[in-house]
């Protein structure tokens, strides 16, 4: 009993000697790992600390510590004037957030999931995205709309839609979607600092995943550029574009393809709007083949835009038709086996890449 309490006291005094951010200091030469959740939380914390105009608003962001604990500890640190729990009224609180941005504050509005953003979509598009243009530059809107996007696990049709394509089609918005912890930190910090409305699409299933981060990433000044994709894995045979959770799947597919002698280049889009067309096209000009991967509905999706861009800019370089891997063209079912069929799996990406690399069946002329 005494031994335990003495250890506890020792442990506590150790805490005092440690530097201010004990969780983020590495004690070995191995890279530090943090979860996407920690990455987002630290990004919010640092940006709120750096700029008093930044404030958070959303359902359960304060006392509940965040529906997915992304905003944990921030109410305690910054107080109820800067971390605001809202009633369940998306249209109302989103409009209030946009109005605050008109005045010059920097709101970060959380949607518990982006499915609920549809209740507020008029404010995102008509009140936020278009204002700088309609006012010829008088009214800029430095707001961030963030929250989980796309499929979770077993949450059914109304809670699983991916909104990347919808928001990315709208001029005046910037749309970002991080994959790992580095992306989460760098892109969220960039979004909060950006003077335009940014839609920040996270993924619930990635929140608990850990990824290595360098000291540079952990520094409070770290920021990633908006509009630039990242080549996660270099390759020469086929280009695979993806964002958010699908980047992980694409990387797994690339490992499997390598065993068959196909070296895939995996591009993590990071930014859906602006889309990094030059990185995508440069890659396709090198590999001559393209697979686009996304979780959302296929029609009029992100992959469709990437395909059109490559056909317009790099047609002569394509050795095979562009392949699209996307969510199934159905509302998301609940039953586990059907749900599995409704979202892309690694084997889908592998199969499409192989199709693009060699024809499995010779083409015959059709009447």
């Amino acid at each position: 009993m005494l031994a335990i309490s003495r250890q506890r006291i020792l442990g506590q005094s150790f805490q005092k000697i440690r530097p201010a951010v004990p969780g983020l200091r590495s004690y070995s030469s191995a890279a530090k790992q943090i979860t996407v959740r920690e990455a987002l939380n630290s990004a919010l914390d640092e940006e709120m600390s750096a700029d008093p105009k930044v404030f958070l608003m959303g359902e359960e962001v304060g006392e509940y510590q965040g529906a997915y604990k992304i905003t944990k500890g921030l109410l305690e640190k910054y107080g109820p004037e800067r971390v605001l729990d809202t009633p369940i009224t998306e249209a109302g609180f989103t409009g209030i957030g946009v109005g605050a941005a008109y005045y010059g504050l920097k709101p970060v509005v959380e949607f518990m999931t982006f499915n609920f953003s549809m209740q507020a979509i008029d404010h995102i598009i008509n009140s936020a995205a278009k204002s700088n243009y309609m006012s010829a530059g008088q009214i800029s809107v430095p707001i961030v709309f963030r929250g989980p996007n796309g499929a979770a696990a077993g949450v059914g049709a109304q809670h699983s839609q991916c909104y990347a394509a919808w928001y990315a089609s709208c001029p005046g918005l910037k749309v970002l979607s991080p994959y790992n912890s580095e992306d989460a930190r760098g892109l969220l910090k960039a979004a909060i600092r950006d003077p335009d409305p940014v839609v920040f699409l996270e993924n619930e299933l990635l929140y608990g995943e850990s990824y290595p981060v360098s000291d540079e990433v952990l520094d409070s000044s770290f920021c990633l550029p908006i509009g630039k994709a990242k080549i996660e894995r270099e390759g020469k045979d086929v280009t695979i574009t993806a964002f958010s959770k699908m980047v992980g799947y694409a990387l797994k597919a690339a490992e499997i393809l390598e065993k068959d002698g196909i070296y895939a280049e995996v591009i993590n889009l990071r930014s859906i709007r602006p889309l990094d067309r030059s990185t995508i096209n440069a890659s396709v000009r090198k590999t001559n083949r393209l697979i686009t991967v996304e979780e959302g509905f296929p029609q009029h999706g992100v992959g469709a835009e990437i395909c059109a861009s490559v056909v317009e800019e790099s047609f002569a370089y394509l050795d095979a038709p562009v392949e699209r891997i996307a969510g199934a063209d159905v509302p998301m079912p609940y039953a586990a086996n059907l749900e599995r069929m409704a979202v892309p799996q690694v084997e889908d990406i592998v199969r499409a890449a192989k199709r693009a690399c060699y024809r499995s069946v010779p083409l015959a002329a059709t009447a």
């Binding site: 109302g92 609180f93 409009g95 109005g99 605050a100 009140s127 700088n132 309609m134 006012s135 008088q138």
Partner: protein, 393 residues
């Protein structure tokens, strides 16, 4: 002493000379600030609060300013009607004539640090905030000299430097936005308020109640002003609202019903509301007003109301006529002097229109400006992207 809120400084001295020469034999009228007390047409009706007094303090100077401002607004809207019929204005054009007392009275009670946000019937509010006739007419005609450089149009006039946040086309959206402005004012500890204007048609919007709920919970200095002109486009209030007592619709939020055709009542109510909102959070003002034009230029305005009703309001309740009678009965100016002011306003409007017509349309490169505040050197495209591309600054 400023002659009016609407005039640019270069012309005001010339007009001061004009007026003083016209009245050189008589006492100076437009600069007299001796308090005069006037009773509002009807008492205020209150909900969940104590109504302010019917006795309003004003002055010769203020009354003449009201007359001048409202006459200018009236003239501007009527001229816009002609321009629309001449096809110089396209698309939507929602005119405010009849409702001038709301815009004028409000300005007299507040400062340019207070915020105003409204819907699409915004030309006169923009003028009240210090906008110029040229900026309005050029914007309506889609020219470079417009307040939004021709890129917004009738429904999207803004003047951020005097805290006018538009000009919104989506019915009801401006109310949560206005509550957001109030939030930011409180956050910044500015001790100022926001007036969010909406119509009887917008009064049933769910987002209004969502925003009011949050404003009341967080004690935001938001004043929701229902400009009840009794028709939401072609639908009379009794067909649209189960309860057309809009000043009571706030339930837990206090409200005041005001004769919106009486500029002094408007001023008194807005002054009361500002004091209230700074201390106690949101309050609703229902301005009982009327528009002479239809909903927009494509609506004759006579299929859902009788011509007798329209002419009846014009005869009994016209806001400019009320002020004219007040000025004459208090012997503050002669009929001729007032007619001269109206002629002067007409000339100002005509001059501004002529100037606006001279202003060219925006440069084609303006298609791609202001998409973002920070364009990041990103590419944007025209209809044929192989033909027209631009880099966003």
């Amino acid at each position: 002493m400023a002659l009016s809120y609407l005039r640019s400084s270069s012309s005001s001295s010339a007009n001061l000379k004009l007026l003083s020469s016209a009245v050189s034999i008589r006492r100076p009228i437009s600069t007299d600030t001796t308090p005069i007390t006037v009773e509002t047409s009807v008492p205020f009706t209150a909900h969940q609060c104590e109504a302010p007094s019917r006795s309003v303090e004003t002055s010769s100077s203020e009354l003449l300013n009201f007359f001048r401002n409202m006459a200018l607004m009236r003239r501007m809207e009527i001229a816009a009607d002609s321009l629309y019929k001449a096809k110089l204005i396209r698309g939507f054009c929602h005119l405010y004539d009849g409702q001038e007392a709301v815009a004028s009275g409000m300005e007299a009670a507040i400062t340019k640090k207070d915020c105003i946000i409204t819907a699409y019937r915004d030309h006169c509010i923009f003028m009240g905030r210090g906008g110029t006739l040229l900026e309005v007419f050029a914007e309506l005609m889609g020219r470079r000299a417009g307040c939004s450089k021709g890129k917004g149009g009738s429904m999207h006039c803004y003047k951020k430097d005097s805290n006018f946040y538009g000009g919104h086309g989506i019915v009801g959206a401006q109310v949560p936005l206005g509550c957001g402005l109030a939030f930011a004012q409180k956050y910044s500890k500015d001790e100022t308020v926001t007036f969010a204007l909406y119509g009887d048609g917008a009064a049933n919007q769910g987002q209004l109640f969502e925003a009011l709920n949050i404003s009341a919970l967080w004690d935001l200095p938001a004043i929701l002003v229902c400009e009840n002109n009794h028709y939401g486009m072609g639908t009379a209030e009794w067909r649209a609202s189960k309860s057309p007592a809009y000043y009571k619709r706030g339930d837990y939020a206090p409200g005041l019903k005001v004769d919106g055709m009486d500029v002094l009542a408007v001023k008194q109510a807005c002054k009361f509301a500002k004091e209230h909102a700074l201390k106690n959070g949101p309050i609703i003002l229902e301005m009982d007003t009327y528009r002479y034009h239809g909903h927009s230029m494509s609506d004759p305005g006579s299929t859902y109301r009788t011509r007798d009703e329209i002419s009846g309001v014009r005869q009994e309740r016209d806001p400019i006529e009320r002020v004219r009678k007040l000025i004459l009965s208090h012997d503050l100016a002669t009929e001729k002097e007032l007619k001269d002011i109206e002629k002067e306003m007409r000339k100002e409007v005509d001059d501004a229109i002529a100037q606006a017509k001279e202003s060219p349309m925006p440069e084609p490169s303006e298609l791609f400006t202001n998409v973002y505040a920070k364009g990041l050197g990103v590419e944007s495209f025209g209809a044929d992207r192989k033909e027209v591309r631009a880099t966003l600054p």
